[in-house]
């Protein structure tokens, strides 16, 4: 190789402070913290609704959840530094979501255990935000429901409340009485959140408002909730038509418990949902069908956590359906 000497630029350059950054030089500039803050904003309507209905106990749930989750996340980050910083707000978001699904009277140690499972087992052990195969919140709720079923009892939690509605979880009523349970409930009450459910998961209308916000910001894709609702309505209609005595109508399923909450906030999570468009639809449908099968044929009154967990685990498989690369060596 022939050596050529370097050209020495005559005179100083007018460029001592230049920023030799890499392209593209135009970016939307959000950042992980802002992404999670948007989700938190989307959760706010339901949280406000919950505080309006339940008052201080609901505030206590959300406060404890955020506090425990942040402390655990911070300590974990100190002990095992990773790129999943506490400052990226993911723990706040997950803590609020966990609070949504806990009963209003959950004791502090239950919340602490839930936060521990959510942050340490669900998130940090898999490599932090972006690394987990199943949604940490759902994982944590599943652990709590299996370990302390009597503590995760929403009916018991709300028995002192004096509402003009049936104070039993709609899906539990459905399990015990069959489709006749539907006559005990008004759909307007369920829509407005006046039903027995977790701290905020039953606030159907408020959750829908938050979901609309996320959809407009393109934080979540419409394919997942749409697929979920299609799958749920189709399966429940079939079941209802096959045996109207035993299975409730699609509307009842859609409005009861945390159905809409998981459809728009848990299934659509960035990390655990598929990425390509067709797999997103299939994933939604799969979750809807699974949910209806669990509700119809299992011992659980409400199988939302198991439906979400199973669908989460299928999402890498579904993502194998991907478009043909254009312009590679395969052309």
């Amino acid at each position: 190789m022939k050596e050529i000497k370097m050209y020495q630029q005559p005179g100083p350059t007018d460029s001592t402070m230049l920023d030799v950054a890499v392209g593209p030089h135009s970016r939307m500039g959000t950042g992980l913290a802002q992404v999670h803050q948007r989700w938190v904003i989307a959760l706010l309507p339901a949280i406000i609704g919950s505080i309006y209905y339940f008052g201080a106990p609901s505030l206590r749930i959300f406060g404890l959840c955020i506090g425990f989750a942040l402390v655990i996340d911070f300590v974990a980050e100190r002990l095992a530094p990773s790129r999943d910083l506490t400052s990226n707000w993911s723990s706040v978001l997950f803590a609020l979501m966990l609070g949504f699904m806990l009963p209003v009277n959950a004791p502090w140690w239950l919340i602490l255990t839930g936060c521990f499972f959510m942050v340490i087992i669900g998130k940090k052990l898999f490599g932090g935000v972006g690394g987990f195969p199943a949604h940490p919140v759902v994982l944590s709720v599943a652990v709590l429901q299996l370990s302390w079923p009597q503590r995760m009892d929403n009916t018991g939690a709300l028995k002192d409340l004096d509402w003009q509605v049936t104070m039993v979880e709609p899906l539990r009523m459905l399990k015990s009485q069959g489709a006749a349970a539907e006559s005990h409930y008004q759909w307007l009450d369920m829509l407005l959140g006046r039903q027995v459910a977790g701290a905020a998961e039953g606030m159907v209308l408020f959750i829908a408002i938050g979901a609309l916000f996320l959809l407009l910001l393109r934080e979540i894709q419409w394919q997942v909730p749409a697929g979920f609702i299609v799958g749920l309505v189709a399966t429940s209609s079939l079941l209802h038509l096959s045996d109207p005595e035993m299975f409730a109508t699609p509307l009842f399923h859609l409005l009861s418990g945390g159905t809409l909450f998981i459809g728009v906030f848990l299934l659509t999570d960035h990390t655990t949902s598929p990425v390509n468009r067709l797999p997103m639809i299939l994933y939604g449908i799969l979750a809807g069908v699974l949910l209806m099968l669990i509700r119809g044929y299992s011992l659980h009154a409400d199988g939302i956590v198991y439906a979400v967990l199973l669908a989460n685990l299928c999402s890498p498989l579904l993502d194998m359906i991907k478009p043909q690369v254009r312009g590679g060596e395969n052309v």
Binding site: P10, T13, S15, H25, R27, V35, R218, T271, V275, V325
Partner: protein
Amino acid sequence: MQRLFDVFRNRAALPTVPDYDPEIRQIEDPERVIIPLDYPGRIHYLPTVKAGDTVRRGQVVGRSRLGNSTLASISGRVREIATTWTAQSVHSPAVVIENDGGEGIPAGEMFDGPVAPGDPRAALKRIRTAGVNAPWTLSGRDYGTGEITALPRLEAVIITGVQEEPTILTSQLLLEQQAEKVAEGLRRIRILLPDASIWLTVPAHLQSWAEDRFSEFADIAPVPRSYPGRIEREVVARLIGRQIPNRESYISRGVIVQDIENILAMVDALDGVSPFIQKCLTISGPTIDKAVTVRFALGSSLRHILASQGLKVSDFVRPVVGGPMKGIAQYSDLTPVTYNSGIHLIAQDLSPFDPIAPCIFCGRCTRVCPAKIQVHLLNRMVEFGQFNSTGKLHPEACHECGLCAHVCPAQRPIVQLLHFCNHEMTHGERYVWSAE
């Protein structure tokens, strides 16, 4: 209201066509030009002058094995032949010429009159002598060894009246202002390549205007204002109806893509009017009120071009040669500019890359990718060094349009991760330039 709408469409920062001054300003010759002799993967010139020689404007200073030439853009003394840093982020041998204010070679002395139409051999020779067939006109990426092989029959010629970066306006302005000359150029191409199909891309709002003038010689293809609809590879694939592998040059598949500026230069060369020694360039930026387009001598420094418009690099944090999406940030304002048609000046970095942000697998990069690459998987594989698993996902299809990094909410440098992946797969080790 529009702003709110933009926020909701997540389009806030996608570059758009700026306000511009339609006049093309001629700027003075600089004191010194640097003419690079090497464009890696594309062409390599050998110098035909020595240090200390006196050259005149239009004189050949470098010639390739195929007979392509690069010309002195000013008259003066060759100061030295040395390695220089070019705007394409590579080192290259270059001829440094110091201006002595001398006259250029008159056109009559350089060319023997117009080339007879319908004589492809003479036309090709003239184009090569006049420096029109410059390295950047051999479009498409070429990873080959530079061996001369027989070219396939030319099937399609695409004249881009719209640059892919919305902030670069040279082609559009030249198309509007020199429409007759463009039509003449298209007519010449039609004579030289009677069987080829010829397309002219125009901005969508000029479609009917262009159809009146050019539909006799070429098919008019309107191109939208937005960046994703203008990406050159996608436009070419849409027009010719098939995708050209990213690693092969267009020309190896019988397609030529030229911009308006080269067509005009070709007409000048064939008529024996002037060689190709000056180029147009648009200066734009978020803090610049009106984008200005200038015509400068090839090899002028960034500082000379900006100073002629009263701008200083030190007022900005980042001078980008090219456009905001595909351009390259420069570390010095003495870099010679030959290749690109735009300078984008950034005064403040509003969203710096976050070097440690983890990928959250949201998949926006994958959904926005025009090549339909699984970017969300690839960028993680590269991050963790799993190059063996990347092959099946075809990272080589990436033409670095920058949309993935543009939309990434974690602000990861995804384009660079994919580039690194391709580099690793192609070369396997740090790639070093070597002279012949």
